[in-house]
């Protein structure tokens, strides 16, 4: 039934409006641009922000990759990829280097991104000041005045309570020395990848109706106090069970028969490529 639909599902004027919002977002790095979030065949809060950006940017020559928490094969990633493919007929891939558009939820791929690629992140809560200021009217003013003491206060409170900043994911960052931005719930491990990235990073929040962006080669600094520096997650010397790699983001898994805890690379396509390379080398 999708074959009869418009290319990339959305009508042209909707796509144009979303592209215009994206352009504005790129022009003001880190600023949340409001846009008219469209109805889609998936529920709001399930990646509609990212999907609308993908659908409005995609062309026939694009190669698309969709991941969900590092995995190309989870139900959400597969469903979103199917929807994009059925309405556009573009090629899809799981190889990060090959893709021109990468839609992702909660992770930035381990393979370094390169120039010309666009990474589109699905964002549930775009407002970094929301947990200290519930009113949108007021947070907009705070952004305008560059008053980010709320975001710092949250970290200070964490240090008071837990002895360290307790943001598991979505650790706030300052973009280009101006706007403080929620990097969507990527783990702190991925925060440094935002800084000076050669690829364009776009953030779409469908339920909250906001689009924001980090243009290529933009300075992105994770907020941290002078005496409590920013730290990525550490895995206490644990290694991936299958590859033996350690400087990657690991999943903690439990073997259901033995109850043993083991670690494995979270980014599934990176894991697969690494294993394939090893087998190739062995057969040679």
């Amino acid at each position: 039934m999708f074959k009869e639909k418009h290319f990339a599902f959305l009508d042209e004027s909707s796509k144009k409006e979303i592209r215009r919002a994206v352009l504005k977002a790129v022009a003001i790095p880190g600023y949340q641009v409001p846009f008219a979030s469209r109805e889609l065949p998936i529920a709001r809060g399930w990646g509609t922000g990212g999907l609308q950006i993908t659908l409005s940017l995609i062309g026939e020559d694009d190669i698309v990759k969709v991941i969900d928490q590092g995995s190309d094969e989870s139900v959400n990633a597969v469903s979103l990829r199917n929807l994009i493919q059925e309405t556009t007929n573009v090629r899809s891939t799981i190889r990060t280097q090959e893709a021109t558009l990468i839609q992702t939820r909660h992770r930035i791929p381990e393979t370094p991104l390169k120039e010309g690629q666009i990474l589109i992140l699905q964002v549930p809560l775009p407002e970094p000041l929301r947990n200290v200021e519930p009113s949108e009217y007021k947070t907009k003013k705070l952004h305008g005045e560059g008053d980010y003491s709320g975001a710092w206060l949250k970290m200070f409170e964490d240090i008071m309570r837990y002895g360290q900043t307790a943001t598991g994911a979505d650790h706030p960052v300052c973009v280009d020395g101006r706007y403080v931005m929620a990097p969507s719930p990527i783990p702190r491990f991925d925060n440094p990848k935002l800084d000076n990235s050669p690829a364009l990073l776009l953030f779409g929040a469908g339920r909250e109706k906001k689009i924001y962006a980090v243009p290529p080669y933009t300075q992105v600094v994770s907020l941290a106090f002078d005496d409590y520096p920013f730290r990525r997650e550490r895995f206490a010397g644990e290694k991936c069970r299958l590859t033996g790699l350690s400087d990657v983001y690991l999943d903690e898994l439990t073997d259901e028969t033995t109850g043993e805890i083991y670690y494995q690379i979270n980014d599934s396509s990176y894991l697969l490529e690494h294993l394939n390379r090893e087998t190739e080398m062995q057969t040679e």
């Binding site: 200290v132 305008g144 005045e145 560059g146 008053d147 003491s149 710092w152 206060l153 200070f156 409170e157 240090i159 008071m160 309570r161 106090f225 002078d226 005496d227 409590y228």
Partner: protein, 280 residues
């Protein structure tokens, strides 16, 4: 002029209206009924208020509810925008720049660095679900401090001064008693050692012994730091205890001002006379 002769805070011709006004009430104060236009319902909360506070001086503002005291305080702390008027602080650009005409960012800086505010209702001044320590740090963070250890040390120092026991310093103010909340607010107001403190009905709603504690604390701090204080209260005994000079407001206007003793012993304006004689 020596530092004692130059006002620390100067407010000139401050006006605040809620509503746009109409031909019946604009520039015709004689047509107003109790600060309110009977035709267009515009409220003239403050009309042509001018006052100054000198270094180390405590100025009290008294008046019945609705007389514009709190509106005045909110404008001085940039919680609301004035309709018009001029506002100078000696510590800001040598007192030559009208802060009301400056940018919002500058106003925030003044608010964080040069002013300390204690509200009648602690909910206004404190983040109830952040620890007492964090509430005090908020002012220092806003002033650009990014060093946790120094902020914790300063926070402990201030909480010690307002006698919050160490065991409770990491608790949320929503679990504190009213008097403790008020003391945390005072500590917060002092965080950046501002030259001017604004106190808005700080003892209203507290029981008598706690009132005395809070007032004594304010007096002690004022004596030690020589802060200039602008103090709003409808309680004449609070004014008598703290204020050097008193301003009486009614319907948005200053109707009488003078030394506190003078005002209380020999009131001139009929309303002030009524106010003083109704003191139990």
């Amino acid at each position: 002029m020596t530092q004692w002769e130059k006002p620390v805070l100067t407010l000139k011709n401050f006006n605040k209206t809620f509503g746009n006004g109409c031909s019946f009430c604009k520039d015709k104060p004689e047509n107003l009924k109790g600060g309110c236009c009977p035709k267009c319902r515009t409220i003239y909360a403050c009309r042509d208020v001018s006052l100054c506070v000198y270094c180390g001086e405590v100025v009290g503002i008294v008046g019945e509810s609705g007389s514009g005291k709190s509106t005045l305080m909110q404008a001085l702390y940039f919680d609301s925008e004035p309709t018009d008027g001029e506002y100078y602080l000696d510590a800001y650009k040598n007192g030559e720049r009208n802060i009301f005409a400056d940018s919002r960012r500058q106003q925030k800086w003044v608010r964080n660095m040069l002013l300390g505010m204690v509200y009648q209702n602690p909910v206004m001044g404190l983040k109830m679900h952040f620890s007492a320590q964090s509430n005090i740090a908020e002012k220092m963070i806003a002033a650009g401090n990014r060093d946790v250890h120094s902020m914790v040390a300063r926070g402990n120092d201030l909480l010690e001064r307002v006698s919050i026991p160490p065991a409770r310093r990491k608790d949320n103010p929503c679990n504190f008693s009213g008097g403790m909340q008020q003391r945390v607010q005072i500590a917060k107001a002092l965080a950046n050692e501002p030259p001017v403190l604004l106190l808005d009905e700080i003892t209203t709603g507290l029981d008598l012994s706690v009132q005395a504690d809070v007032l004594e604390l304010i007096q002690k701090i004022q004596r030690a730091n020589r802060n200039s204080i602008l103090l709003v209260s409808h309680d004449l005994s609070v004014i008598r205890m703290l204020a050097d000079r008193t301003v009486v407001m009614r319907n948005g206007q200053i109707i009488e001002e003078g030394l506190t003793d003078q005002i209380l012993e020999d009131p001139q304006h009929p309303y002030t006379q009524q106010l003083v004689y109704s003191l139990l």
